[in-house]
Amino acid sequence: MRSPILQRRRLLAAAALTLASPALGQGTAAASRVLKFIPQSDLAVLDPIVTTANATRHHGFAVWDTLYGFNQDYRPEPQMAEGHDVANDGRRITIRLREGLKFHDGEPVRAADCVASIRRWAARDPLGQVLLARTEEIAAPDDRTILLRLSRPFPQVFTALAKPSAPVCFIMPERLAATDPARPVAELIGSGPFRFVERVPGSRVVYERFADYVPRPEGIPTWTAGPKRVHFDRVEWHVMPDAATAAAALQAGEADWWENPLGDLQPSLRRNRSIVMEVPDPIGFIGMVRFNALHPPFDRPAIRRILLGAVDQDAFMSAVVGADRSLWRDEIGTFPPGTPLANDAGMDVLTSARDPDRVKRELSEAGYAGEKVVLLAANDFPTLSALANVGAETLRRVGMDVEVVSGEWAALMQRRARRDAPDRGGWSMFFTFWTGLDMMNPGVNQALRGTGDRAWFGWPTMPRMEELRDQWFDAPNLEAEQRLAREIQAEALREAPYLPLGQYFQATAYRRGLSGMLKGLPVFWNIQRG
């Protein structure tokens, strides 16, 4: 006869198994077809045209596709486009769509969808605005042909359509692309490799492989170009605002990939044999300090320019990333090193020996009379806080009277929009980081604009810079672009609307066993387990 205690134990075990059954399924083959990703931040805004947030751009590349991709040489390459034809001295451009492209709702992608999407994107994007200004007609003569009739040739047209810096020219159905670009679209229907399934704000975002997606048949997948072959049925973003929790989740195997591990936690992750760490984006992030050109002392370009002699990019980057020189680079000018327009014009002002006493003397000679410098310092982002601390110290060393206004980034963004004098609630300078993608040419780098009141915060007036920028749009080839880039860099270092503070690279961490991760942005095609 069986013991009643044993029977009760069996009963309890059976009950526990029943209760646990949903969890047990998680370890099956199905789970291995799920990629669990921890993004750098929550996906707050879903429409990639409304915001320039990086998380939204990465989400955008999952859901939507682009007419042109961006390859490892930082050049455009047809993606949704089958090819194009340029005629009439570059004034007539015909783009032919690939066959069989479909939206997630089953509707075919038509040229009319592309025309509406280009119009909506162009209203927000600086390169797009130039394109629109030169466009006499943009039309869809048939379902697979997009026609651009320009008043002036625009050699950067394919660069504009391919560029991965936000906002990206994603193709949406015409009915959605008709939405005001300042308002989010009502549905998330794209023709990208993943279908959007759900989002619980602050918690998770879920995508499923789009079965009808047709990858390009040829080419090599790099950045956002080439065939986008998907090897996971499902991609889940798990939002973890706490870095230590994200690190623990990756170490415990509860997540596959953490986009941006914090510097403090990287040594422990590197020691873990189950985790691989690498730098996916060779362009990284560029730090800058932006001046308010409306008010003293930085309304005088001479004062701004003299401060270039005080900038020690080594000190700024060490404060941001630490001593590991493989994660940062100094001697950074206007364009990110390694990109086609990077050059050394005028760089001696940044690379020569630093001499604070000389800078102090030059400031005095240039008319700096001890005006207060109101420095906005974001305290909720460690990288920005580090820049501000080193920046304040640098200014004090050269004899400037600095008042540090510390606050959350959201509050500082409001203050930086104010054009009042610094002592009346305005500001003199603030620090920020931009991705290298946002600075790789004069068309996307908003900080180079010199249109005064209409320019980016700081509002410098730089007519020569605007001329050079216009010439760059007309540059017929890379050589001409590079020649102009040298002039633009020299002008940028002469006018100094901002000071470059160095470049750092963000490592990413993922479980050993994942392969095929592409350089550049966190995208979910090509990557596979095993």
Binding site: L19, R124, R199, P201, S203, M240, A249, A410, A411, W456
Partner: protein
């Protein structure tokens, strides 16, 4: 009693009105611009202005407040500036994790802290009493996030007994649900256990010196019966009060605990909304928390009558 409850419920209306006015005004004058956050760093001032206008953030204070109050009276908490989702839906999505965390913490805390306090009072001055009080001091002193990280390191990363983070809905099974809540509940409950244990001990010490306890002892009642049947019931009023006050402590602690254990609850919703200046969400969540707190206090007041029949409303 019924009339009292109705009176108290009606009294919440002016309280909520004051909370609403206060929260709206505070957010209005607080620095920060959601339009700039949405537009992103590279956006031009023109882009930011266009987004601000499309969100209606350029309207005057009274117009915005009036529209909000009108919506609230119709039961509409508005739409999130960032996610474009109804605030009520966002709260609904986050309610279960937070409620689960609070209920498990409450059960855990009360079932550990009350016996601890009773035993400490019964063994006053002994090693057991000192141990309990030492534990209470530790519970008060160590921040929730430190306890959380330590628990996650030991029980999730090293021993691999429990998950590091996340939340599984109750509908997906009791075991995965409770597995995800054990560590956060212990972390969040540590302060709460300390608080309740100390109050229980103090209250019990006072009651144990009463004449009727001496009488019970003289009549030969057992220690367990004296402590839990005679003394605890009479010591319950301050304990219940502290448990009620502690709900506010739990709400505050949930913000940290939910971040440490990546639980998608109301605490994190609030923090995220504050950082982004998502005004409708902040207003909705604060109203909900205030309403909850008022109701908890009412419930505690009613509980008094069960423990002490002399209390009448």
């Amino acid at each position: 009693m019924f009339a009292y409850i109705v009176r108290r419920v009606l009294a919440t209306i002016p309280v909520m009105a004051v909370v609403a006015l206060f929260v709206f005004s505070l957010l209005y004058i607080a620095p920060g611009d959601p339009a700039a956050v949405i537009a992103g760093d590279q956006a031009t001032p023109e882009d930011v202005e266009r987004i601000r206008a499309s969100l209606g953030l350029d309207r005057p204070y009274l117009v915005r407040f009036g529209a909000w109050v009108f919506d609230i009276l119709r039961g509409d908490l508005g739409v999130s500036i960032f996610t474009n989702l109804p605030v009520s839906l966002m709260i609904k999505q986050r309610l279960e994790p937070t409620l689960s965390l609070m209920v498990v913490t409450l059960i855990l805390a009360v079932s550990i802290a009350v016996p601890m306090g009773v035993i400490a009072a019964a063994r006053v001055g002994t090693f057991v009493d000192k141990f309990v009080m030492g534990f209470a001091v530790l519970g008060f002193s160590v921040p929730v996030f430190v306890v959380g990280y330590l628990l996650a390191y030991v029980f999730a990363l090293e021993l691999e007994w429990l998950p590091v983070q996340g939340y599984t809905a109750f509908s997906q099974g009791f075991v995965p649900w409770i597995e995800n809540l054990i560590l956060p509940a212990i972390a969040l409950g540590s302060v709460y256990i300390a608080l309740i244990a100390r109050i229980t001990r103090a209250s019990m010490l006072e009651v144990l010196q009463q004449d009727y306890i001496r009488t019970a002892r003289a009549k030969g009642a057992g220690l367990r019966s004296i402590l839990f049947l005679h003394a605890l019931k009479n010591a319950a009023v301050p304990i219940v009060t502290v448990i009620g006050i502690g709900i506010a402590l739990l709400i505050g602690g949930a913000v940290v605990t939910e971040s440490v254990f990546a639980i998608p609850g109301l605490g994190r919703l609030t923090v995220d909304a504050i950082l982004r200046r998502d005004y409708p969400v902040i207003q909705g969540v604060v109203l909900l928390f205030s309403f909850t707190y008022v109701l908890v206090n009412l419930f505690i007041d009613i509980l008094y009558t069960l423990f002490d029949p002399r209390i009448r409303y």
